[in-house]
Structure formats: C-alpha cells, structure tokens
C-alpha cells in the first residue's frame, strides 16, 4: 500500500468517525435540547404571548393588546422598584468588582497557601444567592444581630438594619459585594496572562508600582474587566432570592427592597396577574439589553486588546 492510499484511507476513516461522533453527540445532547425547548424556549415564547393578555392563572387568557405594556409607564410602584433595582445594580456591581480586583491583586503576589485563600474568597459567591445565606443575613443585620453586638462594644446603638427602609437595601448591597469570588477568580486568571517582562521593563525604567498598575495592569486587564462588568450587571438585574428571603417575600419595609424581579413575581403569583408579569419580564429583557448595548458601545473607548 502506497503512502498515498494509506493517507486516503486514513482520511476516509476519519470522516466516518466524525459522522459517528456527530450522531453520538446528538444523542448526548438530546436531553439538554429537550430541556431547552420545553423548559426555556417554550415558556419564553408563551410569556411573550401572555404579555398581551389578561391572564389570572385560572381562567383562559384574554387578549388585551398593549394594555400591560402601557401600564408599565403609569405604575408608580414599578417605578419605585426600578429605582431600587438601578441603585442596587449601579452601587453593588462597581463595589463588587473593585473588591474582586483588589483581592485578586493581593493573591497574585504569590502568597503561601494561595489555593486556600482563593477557595475561601470564592466560597461566598457559591453560597451568595442561596436561601441559607439570606436567612443568615437577617440574623447578622437584625436588631439583636452580630453587627449590632459589635457596634455595642464600641458604644454605638444599632438598629434593625433590615427592617429599616433607610438601610435595608444597603444590607443587600453588602451581601452582593461579599460574593465577589467569581469575578475575582476571573481577574486572577487574567492577571496571570500579563507577561512579566512588561513589569520588568517598567521597573528598569523606574516606574512606580502605582503607575505600573495604571499603565500596565489595568489596560491589559481591561477585556477581563469588561467581561466581568457585563456579566455582573446582568446578574445583578436578575437578583431575586436575597430580597425575597430577607423581606419575607414582601419587598419591604416600605418597598425599600422591592427588586424588579420580586415585583414581577408578586404581580404573577400574589395578584394573579400573569399577563402583566409576562409583560414585565420582557420589559426587563429590554432594560438588560439596553445596558449591555451601552456597555459594548462604551467598551470601544476603554477596553484595550493586546493582540
């Protein structure tokens, strides 16, 4: 057999293998596809249609045109919920990313026991949106909670942080900032990618640590920062569990923890107004899409790609 034949056969066989692989891949993916279609795509399409109806979960939906969407603009409680959500997103995400970057920079200096610290800082983001942590939060920030005990040592009289509308949202912001682990891990990976030669060259030229950070680290890390920013903003807009558990499902006190998603949920399941809830879900999609688009547009001006 000539070398050419051998090659031909090999290639031929390779195609067959690939075809077989495709079939197998299809079957392995089938459960996921089924889930995608029945649990995600189907309901998403249904919710789009329901957004144009009055639907109380029990009687058949009635078509009412754009009424639900028009209501979005006159619903004062929704506007308050939007205010709460925007505050939450715009305050907690930058703080969270700053913490993530700060800790990543510390860890990147090659501490002993790095793996331990990395896991320790990462842990909260695994637990952060869980019910257990939200319950813990109500204990920590309660009138007789941990925070107030610490404060009483230094002679400051605390308050029920979660049950006071002036501070309730802040506790949720702190909770979100605390879960900086996953962007931190991504930052760490990004920092490892920056070639050490840049720093060596800068050091020889006499650049301070500070200007090394601003002129080398930050520009080279900007794609990672951008990625984290987009992801965390979307994530923050969708926050639900923390507010639901901490406020006992009410969004209180005085609607101060009424996240958009929580309001949507209440419309659907407490007020039996699934049509409006569906419209709200699509409106949230538009908001998130707008924020993401702005992010991508702004990225042109500050994100630096090395390659």
């Amino acid at each position: 057999m000539s070398a050419l034949d051998e090659l031909r056969q090999l290639r031929h066989g390779g195609v067959q293998v690939r075809k077989r692989d495709n079939k197998a891949a299809f079957w392995f993916l089938a459960p996921w596809f089924a889930g995608l279609i029945f649990i995600t795509v189907g309901p998403v399409l249904a919710s789009f249609l329901l957004g144009f109806t009055k639907y109380n979960l029990i009687q058949p939906p009635k078509f009412i045109g754009f009424d639900n969407f028009a209501r979005i603009f006159s619903d004062e409680r929704l506007h308050n919920a939007l205010g709460v959500t925007f505050t939450y997103v715009l305050v907690s995400v930058p703080l969270q990313l700053a913490c993530a970057l700060g800790v990543a920079l510390l860890l990147d200096r090659g501490l002993r026991g790095l793996a331990f610290y990395r896991s320790a800082f990462y842990l909260p983001s695994l637990l952060g949106s869980s019910v257990a942590i939200a319950v813990l939060w109500t204990q920590v920030f309660g009138a007789e909670g941990l925070i107030n005990r610490v404060l009483s040592f230094v002679g400051i009289e605390g308050r029920g942080w979660i049950s006071d509308p002036d501070t309730a949202l802040s506790t949720l912001i702190v909770l979100n900032v605390w879960t900086f682990g996953s962007p931190m891990i991504i930052f760490l990976a990004g920092l490892r990618q920056i070639p050490a030669v840049y720093y060596e060259a800068a050091a020889i030229d006499g650049a301070s640590k500070w200007s090394q950070f601003w002129r080398i680290t930050l520009p080279l890390l900007s794609p990672i920062l951008f990625f984290n920013l987009v992801l965390q903003i979307i994530h923050a807009f969708q926050s639900f569990t923390q507010a639901f558990v901490v406020s006992g499902g009410t969004g209180g006190p005085s609607d101060s923890t009424m996240f958009y998603t929580l309001y949507l949920y209440q419309q659907g399941f407490s007020r039996f107004d699934m049509g409006y809830a569906s419209a709200l879900a699509w409106f949230l999609l538009l908001i998130i899409a707008a924020f993401t688009a702005i992010n991508f547009w702004a990225a042109k001006y500050w994100v630096f790609y090395d390659d």
């Binding site: 009687q59 979660i162 006071d164 005085s254 039996f272």
Partner: protein, 435 residues
Amino acid sequence: MLKGVRRRTALTVLVSLTASMLAACGSGSEAGGDLTAEPVTLRFTWWGADDRHKRTQQVIDMFQKKHPNITIKGEFKEWNGYWDSLATTMAANDAPDIMQMDELYIASYSERGALLDLNEAKKHLDTANFDQKALATGAVDGKQYGLPVGLGMYSIMVNTDLLAKYDIPVPDDTKWSWDDLKKIGDQVSKAGGGQVFGVQSPGINDTAGLSIRARQQGKSLFDQQGKVVLPPEIATQYWQYILDLSKTGVAAPPSVTIEKASAGLNQSATATNTAAFGFWWNTQLTALTAASGAKLKLLRLPGESQGKPGAYYKPSMFWSVSSRSKHPAEAAAFVSFLANDEEAAKILLTERGVPANLKIRDAIAGQLKETDKAAKEYLDTVPVSDPPRITPKGASTLDAILKRKTEDVLFGRTTPDAAAASFIKEVQSEVDAAK
C-alpha cells in the same frame, strides 16, 4: 397549549350552565352521585406547622380505614409558599382535590370558577350542626365555596406576669377605651426601661384591627358589592394611633417593631415577653403561651363598649373542593368526615380554631387544654356583631398593602392622612383590576 385552553373554556361554560359539575375528561363522577367503589386517589393540601401535619395525617389514616378504596395524599406547606404553589397548580390544571382555604383568598378563587359549590354535594356533606352565621362566611351569592373549619376572634393578649412584675393592675376590658390602652401601655413602657414595651404595634400582620375600628363606628371596609367604603377619617385615626404609640414609646422603635412582627409568631414581642399587650387571634393563645412561657390572658378589644361592638367571628380557614376535581363526591365525603366526625375532632381539637360545628365544639370540650378552654370561652362569651363581607376578589393583597402603609407611616415616609387616602385608592384599584 391551545388544546388546554379550549378545554378550560369549555369547562368554564359547563360550570356556569349546569348545576352539576362534570369533570374535565368525563371519566369522573358527579358531586351529587353515589360514592364509587373503585379505587380513588384524592389530593389534600393545607398550610401549617408540624403539630398540624401530625394530627391531620392521623385523621387521614382514620378516614382511609373507613373507606379502603379511597387514598388521600396529603401535601402541606407553610403559609407563604402555600399560596404561590396553589396558584401555580391551578394554572397547570393540577389543583389538589381538597384544599385548606383562607378568607383572604376564597373570593379570588371561587369567583374565578376554581372552587366547587359544596351545595352540589349535599348528599355527602352534612352541615346541619354548623353555626349559620359561620356557614354564611364561606358562601358567595348563595353558593357554598368553603366550609368553615374553626372560628377565631380578634383580641388583645395581655401578659399578666409582666403587669404583676410592674405592679400594674389588669384593665377592665368590658369598659376600656383606645386611650386607656395607650395610657396603661405607657405605664408599662416607663417601668420596662427600654427593654419591655406597653403595646406590640398593630397594623402589620392583619387588617382585622382596622376593620373593627370601622365597625365600632358603624362603618366597614367593604360594602356588600365589594366596593371599598372605608371612610378616610377612620383610616387616618387608625394610623395616627399607631404613629402615636410609636412616637410616645408605648410601642418599640419602628425597626424593632417591624422586625419582630415580620419574623413570625415565635419571634413576636408577645412571644419574647417584650410587650405587655398584643393584638392576636384568640386561638393563638395556646401557641403564644407555649412560646412565651408567661401567663397570657385574652381581653376584649378597646372601644367595644363605647360604640357598636366591632368584634366578629372570623372563620380561621375553610375546607374547599376544586371545581376540577374528578371525584367531587368522594372529596365532599372526606370534608364531611373532617367536619363532623367526633373521633377525628378529638385528634384535631382546636388546632385549626374553635370548631364552627357546634356539636363538635361540645364534644371536644372535655379534652381541651387550659389555654384552649380560655380561647373557647372567649368565643362563647364576648359579644359580636354580624361578620363583615369576605374579602372581595382581587383584594387578597389587602394585608400586604396595610403593612406597607403602616411602614410608611412609622418611618415618617408619609402622614396618616396620606396613608389613609392611598390605602383606600390602592385597595379599590385592586378590586377593580380583578373584575
């Protein structure tokens, strides 16, 4: 999906046209027909705590022994999750056959055609021994959508141990006014030195207090048609009173009040012995006595002797049957067993309220604990007037709106005046939106 919708439409028409209810697939029985001998499985759902689950399961077992062909599958949850999940199972056309229903939601469900008119199943469901006024609370337009299980009355619970400790006499509740409560509460707060307060603020978990305020002055929250007719000045007076309690230190500071009230019965000011007077349902006496470890006594609400009596019997909950149940006759038979069987009653006792079935109430009298007896005696002796209209369809968010307004007032985000006006407006728009 389309098919499901069409079937549901057809079903709604069917219900409104024919008095007898036919099940969705035509394979089920009629509510007025005979009990089947075939094996039947019924789903039964309720909310509550552990104690209730144990007692209810025992009663289910007793019923299954009497009807070997009927299997009852119990599903239980806590209050909040209960209503979310009931709403979703209804939407999925998968509602349980028998459900524990609340006054707040019964109109919202029944007027949307989700509940069976129990009169259709009269053959299997005996209501002869029920207090007629109580029975009426489960009826909408002459149709019996819920059978009241137990009755409760809104009341004041006073911690007599605390009063004794501060040497303050227990007030005479047959004469006292709202001002008297404020005054004696102030004495307690002064003696309590910032640790114990006079009154656990009302207006957070229950609309009954507002309703009774209105009733004492001959008014009500809703008229018979379900329109909000609460005069704004009464609502203003109600929130002004709450604000005064907070400002004068008769009640704990707002954030403490809200935290304790939202954390459930066991963390409440009454249960933690940090307030001498609290607004509760009389049937909660046993649970609160257990939680606080102190001696608690039931008092009439203030103001009952100055105007008309505002107190009334509130059905603590109802038994309802789904209009889509495939076995309405068997479901009704089970409800009848829960409501009329003396052996079952001896297990259930007053855990779901003082029984609305008068015969059963007498039958279990001998078995009651001290606190249960006190709750029953309160119900038997305190004067009441006709109950208010049940919460109209759409207004099941009533308590949530009240709580939000109280928070707004307590934290100075709005005035009692403005809270009253916006409360009335908001509740009315909820009722209108559900039409």
